[in-house]
Amino acid sequence: MESFLNRYRNITVLLLVIFAQLVLLAVQVRNDQDVRMIRVWTVTAVTPLARVMESLRGSSIGFVRDYILLHDTHQENRRLQAELDRMKVENTFLKNELNMAERAKALAVFQEHTPSKTVAANVIGSGAGTNSKVVFTDRGSTSGIQRGMAVVTPDGIVGTVIESYPTASEILLITDPDFAAGVVSQKTGVRGTLKGQGTPLCRVDYVPFEEKVDVGDWFYTSGDDRVFPRGFPVGIVKAVHPGQPFKEILVEPSGMHRGLEDVLILLEGVHQTIPSEQMAYQPVYIAPPPPGGPAGPAEPAAPGGTEADKLRAHYKAVGDAQNHKFGEGLPGSKPPDFNLALKPGQAPVNAPPKAVPQPSLPAAKPTTTAAAPASSPAPGLRPSGPAAGDPAADPQTPAPAAVPVSERPHNE
């Protein structure tokens, strides 16, 4: 050190003297912002060094941290990998929960609208047989489950209860070879027997070869088996092969279309109508009444009823026109002239009373009909065809609200 100072003594003294005078200069001089130059120079000299030192420190720490201190990287990687796996499992679980919630919602909607008395059940296990298509549900005899009850989902039938235990019940799926149910074609009304094959597709037997069944047709329960009420979707025809004496028809079940986790067991089944081929809720346009006329229903041209009723009404009108009361004249008295021509517009006495004029409906506004079910959708839309539900045709048949519209198969 001493030799170094001796060797560079002159230049060292020069630098010291100059530095001292620079400091002296900087103490006196102020810049345009009235800051002493010594402060400006000091900050200018120190801050780049501080920046460089900070950069070096950060780089050094980063280098040490990223390249040297890697002793726990493998462990951290394993921990992160485990966490990722856990998150994947959790994600799958949440997806399943969401899917389950959607199914539960659909099930609840179906359960709310179906006239049949049902109880919801969860599938908790499957049968042990290799070829048997059997599942167990968490509802048993304590919930009112009995052997022979039908099991359905909003999409269609699933199977039947073959055993009922106190806390569980055994369900024979429709794909089991031992399963059979009466079905009817939606399009042509052809009846057959649905049988399982142990495969995803079921077979419809006993459909005569001359009957017309096409691929894409829907089969519904016919109610003949006394297990499934009439009107529940069964499945869609996937293949039709000619045969003697019966066709060979393969149907894809619709009840297990979205998996089989939640089902409904029918405690008391109610027959329903089979939706017509023309899908319900097609909009039907009803023209406005003619201008100037009454807005109410037009007066019927002739009394309704049978021909005998019509003839009776005509005779009564003829009698009234001639002040004749049937059944009061003595035998042999002059009968009324039955050939009397009635004046136009002279209505029979027993004709329905004239409708009270109603205010005109808005032009071109579709209207609903009285036959439309209470659960009909938007105004102006009414179900067409038999699907509209005619309770008079079948007193046991409720309004066709049993199957949600969104779940009903659409006709091609």
């Binding site: 003294v13 020069l14 003297v17 005078q21 620079l22 200069l25 006196q28 001089v29 345009d32």
Partner: protein, 178 residues
């Protein structure tokens, strides 16, 4: 024992060049007189204001003493004294004359500074160096937007160099004989 050519010249020059010694009074009064000349004479003879007498004194003492530390200290003292009597901040002339004294002493070690031509050349060079470095510091440290007139500097440098030769000859009379 053999020496390279450069070492022989250097050693030979150091042996040949003798360190001039001056009386303390000379070391004090001459710079003081130069500073007084710088501030007082131009009041009566304005053209003499172009003479940089303190610079010439610094160059002379640095050359003749052949000591870099001595040269830079002389330059620093005279420069600070000149700063004290000027409007410039303390240190401007001090820094410049410190460097002039240092480099002049460095040159005086290797050159025969008793030669008149060399003295003329060195005085001319250090004047230009002094003016240029002062301008540089004024721009860099004081942020003064002033221009540098090369032509004027070179002419005045020649004038100062001529005066320096005469002044150095006069100051040689004040050296102590060894």
């Amino acid at each position: 024992m053999s020496y390279s050519g450069e070492e022989r010249i250097l050693l030979s020059s150091q042996r040949e060049g003798q360190v001039s010694r001056f009386h303390v009074a000379v070391m004090v009064l001459v710079p003081l007189a130069a500073i007084l000349f710088q501030v007082y004479v131009p009041l009566f003879f304005q053209f003499l204001g172009y003479l940089e007498m303190p610079l010439l004194v610094v160059v002379y003492f640095a050359l003749m003493r052949r000591s870099q530390i001595g040269g830079l200290l002389i330059g620093a003292v005279i420069g600070l004294a000149q700063d004290s009597l000027s409007k410039a901040p303390l240190g401007m002339f001090g820094i410049v004359k410190t460097m002039v004294g240092y480099f002049a002493a460095s040159v005086g070690v290797r050159l025969d500074v008793d030669n008149g031509v060399i003295r003329l050349f060195l005085a001319y060079f250090f004047y230009v160096f002094h003016q240029f470095f002062y301008w540089l510091m004024a721009r860099a440290l004081l942020a003064q937007q002033v221009g540098f007139d090369w032509q004027r500097t070179l002419i005045l440098g020649l004038l100062n160099a001529v005066v320096a030769v005469a002044l150095f000859h006069f100051l040689d009379k004040l050296r102590e004989t060894t």
